[in-house]
């Protein structure tokens, strides 16, 4: 186990201190281009928001409060927690060229700029107006976002998974365990170690006596 733990530590990604997170994920070519090793930029101050207090998720309907597209409503497509950023679909865009070569100017595409969490507000589904949101507990004990103005619960939105799997249309492969088999409880707590239980099950009898060893 120690060798695998060592390899795991080696493969774990370590970013330099004050790494400036951009729109690209660290590790991609674009991010490496923007933050080459040895680059030390002044650090950006990011308001520390705990995971419990964060209220914006992918797929939410939000309204922009300030900026070029102030007043417009859009869907959140990406959340970058390291910078408290939210990227809306098709809003707050600037234009840039993509696929540029030596002789071709490239195709112009609108690319969305990120917005900070306080520049957008969640939209209340009742009256479709921006509203402040609080985290509260339901009768069942579930933690949900509640709009402070109307008191309506804003449910967590559906958003397609990054790996493209749709849980409703999933068919198990030959190496997958079925849901019933995975959730089946076969554990009976007994005062025996795993080794003893497995030896019992396989009918192995250990007749050798352990020689006396000294521990120091």
């Amino acid at each position: 186990m120690r060798l695998s733990a060592l390899l795991a530590l080696a493969s774990k990604v370590t970013l330099p201190p004050h790494y400036r997170h951009g729109m690209s994920r660290p590790g991609t070519m674009a991010a490496k281009r923007r933050n080459p090793p040895g680059s030390r930029r002044p650090p950006v101050l990011v308001e520390p928001i705990s995971d419990e207090d964060w209220h914006l998720f992918c797929g939410d309907r939000v309204e922009i409060l300030e900026g070029k597209d102030a007043g417009k409503q859009g869907k959140v497509v990406q959340v970058i927690r390291e910078r408290n950023w939210v990227v809306l679909e098709g809003l707050n865009t600037h234009h840039r060229y993509i696929g540029r070569t030596a002789d071709f100017r490239g195709t112009m595409i609108p690319s969305e700029a990120p917005l900070l969490h306080h520049q957008v507000k969640l939209v209340d589904p009742v009256d479709r107006k921006p509203t402040e949101v609080e985290w509260r507990f339901t009768e069942a004990g579930e933690r949900v976002r509640v709009s402070t103005r109307s008191g309506r619960i804003i449910p967590k939105p559906e958003f397609p998974r990054a790996d493209g799997i749709v849980p409703e249309t999933w068919i198990d492969g030959p190496k997958d365990t079925s849901v019933e088999d995975a959730l089946e409880r076969t554990y009976v707590p007994r005062l025996k170690t795993l080794e003893e239980e497995v030896m019992e099950a396989m009918g192995i009898q250990e007749t050798r006596r352990h020689k006396k060893v000294y521990w120091y």
Partner: protein, 250 residues
């Protein structure tokens, strides 16, 4: 072919035993039996002579095929795979099931590592590398669950928190370290190698101990000052932070 190899081994073993017989020397006129003067250490142990049995230890006879994926998946760009086993799902399984699952996961991991290495060799992308991450995660979760069960049993039966015995001792550099005990065949007062290890520090080490303490203190103070500075910067930039903290504490 395996039989022929075993036959060769058996022939070598029997030859070695015959040469060992030559080391047996007759006692003399008074002695009735033989006494063994020297036994060469390179004789392999043998279960039975002259027959040698071929023993299979695995139940399946598939062999090296298990290092490779299902032939249908060869050459595919993507291979579908389900989610990893979670700790909670594994806690519901019996020890025999966990034992079997460990080896299934191990074989899958070996297959995926072989695939990864072969993809690196051929300078091609590995199809669906997330499978390997899921298998590693499942195996780590399984190990964690087994460790939890062992810890619980040990705490109930002996009250010992750690599986491996140890002690806090001062090493030769004056540092207090957790010395993990090793298993030895002889007691400590007869062990030459162990007695060469010194679990005490001479007086000339005190100065360096003081310097180490000072260094540690300086690092702690620097960390505390940095946190204070950062908190001040954040307070300037986000004035509402302190009110939010006060309201959350109240």
């Amino acid at each position: 072919m395996a039989a022929a190899r075993f036959g060769v081994l058996c022939r070598r073993v029997s030859a070695a035993v015959k040469t060992a017989g030559s080391f047996l020397s007759p006692q003399g006129s008074a002695g009735t039996g033989f006494s063994l003067i020297l036994l060469p250490k390179n004789i392999p142990s043998v279960t039975s002579l002259p027959q040698c049995r071929i023993i299979h230890t695995t139940l399946s006879r598939k062999g090296l095929e298990e290092f490779f994926d299902d032939p249908k998946n060869w050459g595919e760009e993507k291979v579908k795979s389900g989610a990893a086993w979670t700790c909670q799902q594994l806690r519901n399984k019996s020890n025999e099931d966990l034992h079997k699952l460990w080896y299934v996961l191990l074989k899958e991991r070996n297959m995926l590592l072989t695939l990864e290495q072969e993809a690196k060799r051929q300078i091609l992308p590995m199809p669906s590398p997330e499978r390997l991450e899921k298998v590693i995660e499942s195996m780590d979760a399984l190990d964690k669950v087994v460790q939890e069960r062992e810890d619980a049993l040990r705490l109930l039966q002996t009250g010992q928190e750690k599986p491996r015995p140890g002690a806090w001792r001062k090493d030769i550099f004056g540092r207090i370290i957790w010395h993990k005990f090793k298993q030895w065949a002889i007691p400590w007062h007869l062990n030459k190698r162990y007695n060469r290890k010194r679990f005490f520090a001479m007086p000339y080490v005190d100065q360096f101990d003081r310097l180490r303490l000072e260094k540690h203190a300086r690092i702690q103070i620097r960390k505390r000052n940095l946190e204070k500075k950062k908190a001040k910067l954040l307070q300037e930039k986000f004035p509402h932070l302190s009110e939010a903290q006060k309201s959350s504490l109240a």
